[in-house]
Amino acid sequence: MKIIQKREVWRRRTRDALLSTVVVLISVLVGALLVYGIGRSPFEAYATIFTSTFGSPSGFLYTLSQSGPLILVSLGLVLAFKGSFWNGGGEGQMLLGGMTGVMATYLAHLNNAPATLFVGFAAAFFISGAWASISGLLKVFFGVDDIVSTLLLSASAAFVVFYLVRVPFRAPTSQNAAVLGSVNVPNDAIFPSFFGINGVFPFAVACSVFLYFVLTRTKFGFKLRVLGNNRSTAIAYFGKAKANRLFISVSFLSGGFVGMGGMAMVSAFTFNIIAGASGGAYSAGGFTNSYGFIGIAIVFLAGLDPLAVIPASVFFVALVIGGLGLLVQLTIPSSLTITISGVAILFVSARLPIMQRLRTLVRRR
């Protein structure tokens, strides 16, 4: 039985992975068409992306490092969707987490790297988690749709952060009203690198393994999965109160991991938060690189598996970073690669209907 079980699991996993790869290929194809459409060579474009991200050992390591924050954000979203919490507020939660990290480490004055890092990440986790759990509470007690409240709150979070950057935590040297920068994090809040890879990557991988463990081996993870799959069943066999508490916990944890992604971004790469004064609602001045949304694509392409999130994140981060390379080297706008991610999300939205049709086609044979 055991052997048959393992085989069954792998068969299903390969089938899902195949489908996801097809989606990614189609998106890449659309990207190629776009490049061709503006009169440039898709080969050139993709070659540039590849070389800047994987072409050299240092580039490769840098790409891996950069995937750290994205992995953390995606893990938060895995938790959310596994528990049926439609978290569309990843952008705001990430931004809030990053800002909280800046503020906490700036105010802590600890002069001790591990302690400061801990404070920063913990603060980001709790504040973003609390923010997301507002949506959880609203859904449980007031029936407010989680996708609606997370999106709206995410926009509000952006404004809160703008205020924080503009007034209490503005860098003294930052005077340009269009692009304001916050104070930098203290030196001991900068995540150290090891052997060329920034520590956020192994940290994110560790979180991924941890979540995998929680979801598959603990009672909590199990009940979460049941809740996410069939709320009525969860209510019937866990009790309504427990089911509601579980849902709110999911929202909190989800926001927490996404927030840590924001802190990771600050601690390893940006060192501060720059807020555009245009009042952009859900994508704030480029800090998040749309990770809050790209994470959704990753999560579904990875089949909601915390481990599979790692390679998927590396791939998408390569696109994002490679996109920057495009701009510098070929003067093709970097937004191309985010568009490709968007197209991936587009096809993800249709994955269930398409799979059903494929299944009936196969059955007819």
């Binding site: 039985m1 048959i4 049941v226 069939n230 019937a236 066999y237």
Partner: protein, 507 residues
């Protein structure tokens, strides 16, 4: 006799067969719908009446057999095709938009009529209904009348009604049939209804066709048959109940596990699904509650497990299960619902995971799940109930319907509890597995568990239960030991004919 007779048959289904996978829902049945007559398809749930109706109105396509309309053979492409042919159907859950007003609904159906014309239309068929009321606020009888109005104004020639009385109060029922009779004669309508209520047939209908398990058992003019004959046709002859493997125990007050007093529970479409029900359950016995679907048993079971809050009355438990509230109740009561995919299982999780749903608290070591123990439980259950799956890692939704049912049943039956509430546990199972399930229930009973079996199948309840109660329209009959019932008496209670048929025959 009269040779020349103008046929008054408007629509006819000849030798119709309908299969769903392995299940034959309708097995070579011929029914005709005649002008100026109220015909009725009578039978228990699952007898095939609704399915047959849905073939007559184009919603389903028969696997074999022919449908004739006004003498011509016809094949319906869709339900709308039938509507175009003036065959109108009124379903139990109405096809009106609840949140819209009457006027808005009618404007959608009759876009060419003005507000004044709509008002005239309403008044023609009944007392004044304010056009600007929201449909959701209207009583069921009025909604039904609106649907009938709609059908008539669309020049219906055939009117099919699916279980029209199931949502009506007693007075409304009377009005419905009087209206149908009057309109039927005025407009030469051919009317066919389906019902499981014997009383409806006897009081109001002209011609009855009894279906049992998809087959036609009897077809007569109502004037030429009797309640008794119909009951026998539906349920089988009045016989003494055979000795079954279940033997009722003597009932001891100290063995009482649950006591239900004056319980009333709200329904989804009707105000009260359960009305003032009182009974007790004891250790080591099986209490069977039988009734035709829609008479409140499901709501009763839900309320007993705690899924529905009663409007009135109380459920008290013995000291060991009682006031600890929900958490302990969940731990000590097992529940198999009648719709496993909706309540009880998680379709996208693996079979193994599904077994864990109600066991995870017992089979865990602190915060960690004891997967080995769970796998062990699962393999035992899979073996015992012969569940067909490739492995425990299969997704539940990949299993066939019967096997899905088996997962739920085997899981709940395997729990260590004080009370088991089993609702249609053998639904969708083949004969062999059904007896497996019954054997298991008897085992569980012998272990001292208090079992509540909610069923729609008279045979099942007779075979398994120690005491039996019948539910009809939310009310529970007297709960008596099995030996004090006859099959016919049970059947009569199920269709609400108990008053006329008198007392049961005691052994």
């Amino acid at each position: 006799m009269l040779v020349l007779q103008v046929s008054n048959i408007v629509e006819e289904g000849r030798d119709l067969v309908k299969r769903f996978g392995d299940l034959t829902a309708v097995d070579h049945v011929s029914v005709s719908v005649r002008r100026g007559e109220i015909g009725v398809l009578l039978g228990e749930n699952g007898a095939g009446k609704s399915t047959y109706l849905k073939m007559l109105n184009g919603y389903l396509k028969p696997n074999s057999g022919t449908i004739y309309y006004e003498g011509q053979e016809i094949k319906f492409g869709s339900a709308r095709h039938a509507v175009k042919k003036n065959i109108h159907t009124i379903y139990q859950n109405f096809s009106l938009i609840d949140l819209f007003t009457v006027k808005e609904n009618l404007s959608l159906i009759f876009p060419d009529k003005s507000a004044g014309e709509l008002k005239d239309m309403i008044n023609k068929y009944g007392k004044n209904v304010d056009l600007d009321t929201r449909v959701a606020l209207l009583p069921a009888g009025v909604k039904q009348r609106l649907e009938i109005t709609r059908a008539l104004e669309s020049d219906a020639k055939v009117l099919l009604l699916d279980e029209p009385t199931s949502v009506l109060a007693y007075e409304e029922r009377d009005k419905l049939f009087r209206d149908l009779a009057k309109l039927g004669k005025e407009r030469s309508l051919a009317i066919l209804i389906t019902t499981h209520k014997l009383q409806d047939v006897v009081d109001y209908c002209d011609r009855v066709t009894v279906l049992k398990a998809g087959r036609l058992v009897l077809e007569k003019l109502v004037s030429e048959t009797s309640l008794k004959e119909l009951a026998v046709a539906m349920f089988g002859a009045a016989e003494e109940l055979e000795e079954s493997a279940a033997v009722g125990k003597g009932l001891n007050e100290t063995d009482k596990t649950l006591e239900v007093k004056g319980l009333s529970v709200r329904g989804d479409n009707i105000p009260l699904a359960v009305r003032n029900v009182t009974f007790s359950m004891y250790r080591g016995e099986i209490l069977g509650i039988i009734g035709i679907a829609g008479n409140g048993q499901l709501e009763l079971a839900d309320a007993m497990y705690g899924l529905r809050k009663p409007v009135m009355g109380e459920i008290t438990t013995d000291a060991s299960i009682s006031k600890m509230g929900r958490k302990l109740r969940i731990a000590r009561v097992a529940f198999t619902s009648d719709d496993p995919i909706m309540v009880g299982l998680a379709p996208d999780l693996s079979v193994k995971d599904n077994f864990g749903i109600s066991l995870v608290d017992q089979l865990s070591d602190g915060p960690f799940v004891k997967w080995d123990a769970l796998e062990q439980f699962a393999s035992t259950a899979i073996e015992r109930f012969e569940i067909k799956c490739n492995s425990q890692e299969d997704l539940l939704r990949e299993l066939s319907g019967g096997n899905i049912q088996k997962v739920l049943v085997s899981r709940e039956f395997g729990r260590d509890v004080d009370v088991l509430i089993a609702v249609h546990p053998a639904r969708g199972l083949d004969l062999h597995t059904t007896y497996l399930v019954y054997k298991q229930i008897l085992e569980i009973k012998r272990g001292g568990v208090s079992v509540l079996l909610v069923s729609e199948d008279v045979d099942e309840v007779i075979y398994v239960a120690d005491r039996i109660g019948v539910m009809y329209e939310g009310q529970l009959s007297e709960v008596k030991p099995k030996q004090e019932w006859t099959r016919q008496a049970i059947g009569s209670f199920m269709v609400g004919a108990q008053a006329s048929e008198g007392a049961q025959i005691a052994t």
